[in-house]
Symmetry: C3
Subunit: 282 residues, 3 copies
């Protein structure tokens, strides 16, 4: 069921325009190649409109945000909206600084992302759900809730943000939640090591962009397929590791796993449960 | 014949100043180390003149172009010209946006690159040869010509650009073409996986810079040696791969292969054919 | 003795704010994860103050210096000083350009780094010790002194800079010297391959930040533990290498080694000698 979405990416080879951070740009580009897409990382305000026109989809990632890059993001998003191309928004670190939170909210207001993907802290901030958690940066697990409270929080934040924005919202964590505000999808693929490399979230956002660009007719399933694919690649990477391997080798194996993933394997390994959001919300 | 050019790089250990993009800068730096050179990636307009003075050669790569970086490129190139240091120009994505094409042409007009290296789309745009191809970004193979038409196009574009600019022009593709406008060199080393990682072109441009910096007396052969070396490293990397490896591991093995390449192996594996450009042009 | 400092990093999981260069940012982030810390690489002047507040320590790395990033460094350092958080300063390339040298000295004047870490050329420039060496960029070994003269130079530069600034000063080279101006520590762990990858110095500076953030009560020993850890990881990485491996695989194994390093191993492999600086100074 989900495998065909990957197959379509490999057939279409969509060019994905990623305005992203310099910390993980290399991994994002190689991960896009690995899933069958092609990366383009131009981030200058004077050219992003042209680049969007050549691309099939746009990822906007707030990682190393600054004024110039933000301006380019807004111009690119406007061009994407006008030309009907999907936008995936990754609000890295929203909640960690005033200017970042403001930037994330401003981007949400000015653009119409097709998908928003973040961790619990980030999505909570955008959904404007109060909580006692202090904002935490990706990878930093200290401040994060216990799994169960976290799950409830994720659910509420994701559904709220999806309803507010019309975007399919993905909250990654112990399990990954995906919702369009009505249907709720829970993906339990993945590996804890994904939190011990930089860029696993950025790579997921870029891969989601590739999947929805190549599968415009069923966005929720395409997003689910992308999230499963990333999780499965984490599992595959872990299986290859020897006692001497660490997070650097895991990162390589993670990208390698995507390079070698096929539709059938994606189908057989996907761990997905689907519910109506209403039921869960009670 | 070509091996000695690599040996000279390892002996001289030239410092190569690379003003490049943030997506592949790390790979470029490690590849420069791998071939025996040393990288320096300073890109601020206020210091690039000083850095050029310490360096043996300059690579200018348009990857993540912006106004500040462009200004630094022009200042650095001016310093390189005045001090007689070779410049390698990599017009990444020329043709993909108006501002990028304009920037690439402006750089060509303001500087005198010793070598220009790009893919067919990029070189075509700079040679101002019309064609029905829409511009494509590196790595994106969709829009690219059939191999045979591509070869003729590459030939014409490379010779035209070389004659126009006086630069040795390298067009990379199925085979790599190198010309100074008179002699035509065709290198058929390489592996298709080089198109499935980000930065293989950027790394080649940097390695060319190292080779011509260490071998100023025979530029065409030094460029040829560098192009062969990169292709051979692609072949070596492929040979090491297991069924589970993908493009991330390929990238590592590619750089590893350069680290371990010696002059004799380069000589024995180089696949080069040389012709007068005139003959081929008919 | 040194192992507990690593154990404390793994227990505390400090978030380390790194304002660094785009060439090695990815490696720095993954190395921070590997040692048990969490990275945050925000570099915009409008948010660094907030980010410092969430962090346990700050690394400032001059790699790809420019005006905007420098402004952010100064604001971040000011916030770190006010909130009592340690600062590690890595003056990459000081001496290579006028503006870089000026920037490095200005940063020293404006901030109060807890630790300064550089190679001999860089530390010498900051200590304002004259010598006939021309400034060299990290990784470029050409201009570097003979080991013995280098050791004396390192000693003098480190002690002078430590006394001048009050910062623990680390000079990396054949052996690594660490001094607070009174005690002199010499670490002889490491591997020559650390000079054949980009970012080994940047990673060491970030790891030092993690170690002192988690061990505020004994800074000199915490710095020593971090320097040993990095050197040991170089040794471990080298041991894993096969004949076909090169600097790219070494880089991965280097980070992997940190991921797998435990306190006991650090203790058993650390090669440290300690003397009063006075004795050595004669």
């Amino acid at each position: 069921m989900y495998g065909k979405y990957l197959d379509n990416v490999r057939k279409m080879q969509p060019m994905i325009h990623s305005i992203t951070n310099y910390v993980t740009a290399n991994d994002v580009a190689n991960m896009l190649f690995a899933c069958g897409a092609a990366p383009c990382m131009a981030d200058d305000v004077n050219e992003v409109k042209d680049i969007v026109m050549l691309s099939s989809g746009l990822t906007v990632n707030l990682g190393t945000l600054n004024k110039d890059r933000f301006e380019a993001m807004v111009v690119a998003a406007t061009a994407a909206i006008r030309s009907g191309k999907p936008i995936v928004f990754d609000p890295v670190g929203a909640g960690s600084s005033e200017s970042r939170t403001a930037g994330a909210k401003q981007f949400l207001f000015l653009s119409k992302p097709t998908v928003i993907r973040g961790n619990l802290s980030e999505i909570k901030v955008l959904a404007e759900i109060q909580s006692s958690d202090r904002p935490v940066f990706r990878g930093l697990t200290r401040g994060v809730d216990s799994p169960i409270a976290g799950f409830r929080d994720s659910l509420q934040s994701a559904v709220t943000l999806a309803k507010k924005t019309g975007a399919i919202t993905v909250v990654t964590g112990e399990s990954d939640l995906i919702t369009d505000g009505k249907t709720l999808v829970c993906v339990s693929n993945g590996d804890p090591l994904l939190k011990k490399i930089t860029g696993s979230g950025c790579m997921m956002s870029a891969v989601i962009t590739a999947f929805i660009s190549a599968n415009p007719d069923n966005l929720l399933e395409a997003v689910t397929a992308a999230v499963c694919a990333i999780g499965i690649c984490g599992e595959t990477a872990r299986e290859r590791m020897t006692k001497e391997d660490g997070n650097a080798t895991f990162r390589n194996y993670f990208i390698d796993a995507m390079y070698n993933l096929d539709g059938d394997t994606l189908d057989s390994k996907a761990k997905v449960s689907i519910k109506g959001a209403q039921d869960e919300d009670k």
